[in-house]
């Protein structure tokens, strides 16, 4: 009983401070408007505007042959992977188009292509791929390679064995590799993009809001007022995290309810309660990072610069935009310290893979440890600065 009373006395000023923070947030209309914008419109834009697959790769063909075989081959470059909307008369013209950035691929079919093919002579066609974007250029070129090699096999077989010699596709000992993508069978980019954008936005707010709320007091000098009040550092700092965390969780709900579910049909295969609980854990951990920044910085300009120093690598390298497999191993391992890295596993695990808390024990445990360490360190520094 005595304990409960003490707890109540301990909680009461914190609740009052939390309310104060919320009122302050509520009155900053520009910020509030932007919070809503970021969690709805911005996520919608990312989900609807971005496709990672090679689509409509602009291809320019300079065809010096005009035979049937050449037409047959170029006819196989079809939408949605390729878009052949430019015909060049010479190879030089095609390359100029590539230089101009008007095309990503230039295919050059030599004169006598059809004749050589009919005579059974090997012939060479040229492909130039713009690889200033290496992945896309490489991928588009490999698509064409596949189209050409299939064309070659079919032509070669029908010539060598004659049309009637059992060339029909069903009677050759070939292996068909059926590839199935789990968790996102239609390879819907919107699922991935909208969800990862949501995680990015959460991160931005979860670091900046508490950090700024804490440093603001230092900058204005109101921290002196708080320090002479009968409040411990925990009671001063925790309300900021509670208020901002609550606002962020509400915004997540807004985002799921108005964008992710109705517009992009992102499934929630796991437990929604689990997702929210773990989002709260993530916001808390990341807020710890914000409080740490707040103890280092003296004014909000410093908060800004410190934030990008930590935020940009977190967003770029946690696996939202580049898979960990593509990073050098030491860096992939180093990203273990990024809370976002673990939250990505958690969020995608719960939403797309339908994982349970037991299956996600490792990322959850790591995230909790990181959160407690950051929070503890932030408190320690705050106490030392003002104790």
């Amino acid at each position: 009983m005595q304990f409960l009373l003490t707890l109540r006395d301990w909680m009461r000023p914190m609740l009052a401070l939390t309310r104060k923070e919320l009122t302050q947030l509520w009155r900053d209309r520009v910020l509030l408007l932007f919070l809503v914008y970021a969690f709805t419109v911005d996520i919608y834009l990312a989900g609807s505007g971005v496709t990672l697959q090679v689509s409509h790769a602009r291809t320019v063909i300079s065809n010096a042959d005009h035979g049937v075989a050449a037409r047959e081959l170029t006819g196989r470059l079809v939408e949605p992977t390729f878009r052949v909307d430019a015909q060049a008369h010479t190879q030089a013209q095609a390359l100029a188009e590539l230089d101009r950035g008007g095309a990503m691929l230039a295919l050059d079919i030599p004169p006598r292509f059809s004749a050589d093919l009919a005579a059974g002579r090997q012939t060479t066609i040229g492909l130039w791929a713009d690889t200033s974007n290496s992945v896309q250029g490489f991928m588009a070129a490999s698509y064409i390679t596949r189209v050409v090699s299939r064309f070659g096999i079919e032509t070669g077989l029908s010539q060598a064995l004659g049309q009637g010699a059992g060339v029909a596709a069903g009677s050759l000992p070939t292996v068909d590799n059926r590839i199935r993508a789990w968790y996102n069978p239609n390879q819907d980019d919107a699922w991935f993009m909208s969800l990862s954008q949501l995680l990015n936005i959460i991160t931005v707010f979860a670091i900046l809001l508490p950090a700024a709320a804490a440093v603001r007091e230092k900058e204005r000098g109101t921290v002196e007022q708080l320090l002479v009040s009968p409040l411990s550092p925990v009671q001063i700092l925790l309300p900021k995290v509670l208020a901002m965390g609550g606002a962020i969780l509400l915004a997540i709900l807004l985002s799921l309810g108005f964008v992710l579910w109705p517009i992009f049909d992102v499934p929630c295969r796991g437990s929604l309660g689990l997702f929210f609980g773990l989002s709260a854990l993530y916001v808390f951990s990341t807020a710890g990072l914000g409080l740490f920044i707040a103890t280092v910085a003296r004014n909000q300009a410093q908060v800004g610069m410190l934030t990008i120093l930590l935020l940009a690598p977190m967003l770029f390298l946690s696996g939202a935009w580049t898979p960990p497999e593509a990073m050098p191993p030491w860096l992939a391992h180093a990203m273990v310290i990024s809370p976002l890295h673990h939250f990505m596993d958690i969020a995608f695990g719960v939403m797309l893979k339908g994982q349970t808390a037991a299956a996600l024990l490792r990322p959850i445990a790591t995230l909790s440890v990181i959160g407690c360490l950051l929070f503890g360190f932030g408190l320690y520094r705050f106490r030392r600065q003002f104790g």
């Binding site: 520009v30 496709t51 990672l52 689509s55 409509h56 101009r100 990503m104 060479t124 066609i125 040229g126 492909l127 791929a129 690889t131 200033s132 290496s134 992945v135 896309q136 490489f138 991928m139 390679t145 596949r146 299939r150 064309f151 070659g152 070669g156 060598a160 069903g170 050759l172 000992p173 070939t174 292996v175 590799n177 059926r178 590839i179 199935r180 993508a181 996102n184 390879q187 931005v204 707010f205 900046l208 809001l209 003296r298 300009a301 410093q302 800004g304 610069m305 934030t307 990008i308 935020l311 690598p313 967003l315 770029f316 390298l317 935009w321 580049t322 898979p323 593509a326 050098p328 860096l331």
Partner: protein, 384 residues
């Protein structure tokens, strides 16, 4: 416009920045540090994909076929599984990203000259990784089929296996990769990193500038002074532009010396374009600072309008033509895309003013528009 007043104000702003030791050092430390991190880490070249084989056929055919996948650098064979039941947990935890299932009867069908199927399950959570994996799988399977068919043709027509293979590949494709001959991810990414970092750092530097004075009340000095709006904005912007321009040079040197990327274009043009681009990005920060009322709001708005679009809508990871209609609209509305074209053109394609003047023109227009918007939004007699 009085030049003396502008320089006086710029000097005041400069001193304010330089005296904040931490802020001043961060202004120069952050861009190179991000360049190093992203240059090393931002890559999409997926290799060593963790992979398991579930061979239910146990024939020489199936063993040979499966071995094709693990022989290259693309897949990292973790082992054989007897049953697909454990696959669920392995895939969910990310221990395994791809699994090849060879059904019973695989070898028998091939030996009888009949077509057959195998199945590969891949982790589709990350679409670009799934796509690359798919590309590798298709290429390896195609090679296996070509080898099989060449053997068959050799038997039926009496050709040697090499001759048969030649008959099956009558069309040779000579692929040449342009601008980035070795298809080095680094070469393609580093010039774009200049764009990304100059899109992130300068707006953050600038975004606090005006709103800080609003919050602290120091802005009343301006209201009471004879400094005009234009002079104030120019003076405010000057030190941030100078710092960011200097950073652009540091990043350029890093691209050449640290990452070994060639620079083939005109340096004078690139310097000019970088100057105009930095004017645009600091301008974004300034505009945000004028439009917001609190420093928190300014920082958050800056983070969301710069950090994310710098990657998504600028052609770093996804080329602009592949974006959807809304994505393309945003890409065209931001300066990043134009500077990406300039940076890639100058570094890799050897272009200069002759090819890239339209992009430069757009950037210059953008800078002018930002400044005008800031000028109009700024008021020396605010309503509140």
């Amino acid at each position: 416009m009085n030049l003396q007043r502008i320089t006086a104000y710029a000097y005041k702003e400069w001193r304010e920045i330089a005296r904040d030791r931490l802020f001043f050092s961060l202004a120069f430390v952050v861009p190179p540090l991000l360049m190093l991190l992203f240059g090393v880490g931002l890559s999409l070249d997926v290799e060593h994909i963790p992979f398991v084989v579930i061979d239910q056929d146990h024939s020489q055919y199936s063993r040979d076929y499966a071995a094709r996948y693990s022989s290259g650098p693309y897949f990292n064979l973790l082992g054989q599984l007897d049953h697909p039941d454990r696959l669920d947990t392995l895939m969910a935890s990310g221990t395994v990203r791809a699994a090849l299932i060879i059904p019973a009867g695989f070898g028998a069908r091939l030996a009888a000259g009949k077509p057959t199927e195998v199945q590969t399950l891949i982790d589709g959570t990350f679409p670009s990784r799934a796509l690359t994996t798919k590309g590798y799988l298709d290429a390896i399977n195609a090679q296996a089929n070509l080898d099989g068919l060449a053997k068959l043709l050799a038997q039926r027509s009496g050709l040697t296996e090499d001759a048969a293979r030649q008959r099956l590949t009558p069309v040779k494709l000579a692929v040449r990769y342009r601008y980035n001959e070795a298809v080095l991810s680094l070469w393609s990414i580093v010039p774009k990193l200049l764009m990304v970092i100059l899109m992130i750092s300068p707006p953050f530097l600038t975004s606090i500038g005006v709103v800080r004075e609003k919050e602290s009340g120091a802005i009343f000095n301006l209201y009471a002074s004879n400094l005009s709006r234009g002079e104030y904005l120019l003076g405010k912007l000057a030190p941030y532009v100078a710092i960011s321009f200097l950073n652009a040079w540091v990043l350029w040197l890093m691209a050449l010396w640290v990452f070994g990327v060639p620079f083939r274009g005109s340096l004078a043009f690139f310097a000019l374009a970088s100057g105009v681009y930095v004017l645009c990005t600091t301008g974004i920060g300034l505009l945000v600072s004028i439009a917001t009322r609190s420093q928190v709001a300014a920082m958050i708005v800056t983070a969301i309008v710069t950090v994310v679009p710098a990657v998504l809508y600028s052609g770093v990871l996804i080329p602009v033509p592949s974006l959807g209609p809304t994505g393309q609209l945003i890409a065209h509305a931001l300066p990043a895309m134009y500077y990406t074209e300039i940076a890639v053109g100058c570094f890799l394609k050897g272009s200069g003013m002759a090819d890239l003047w339209p992009q430069l023109l757009v950037l210059a227009g953008y800078a002018a528009a930002l400044f005008t918007a800031g000028f109009l939004l700024m008021s020396k007699r605010p309503k509140v």
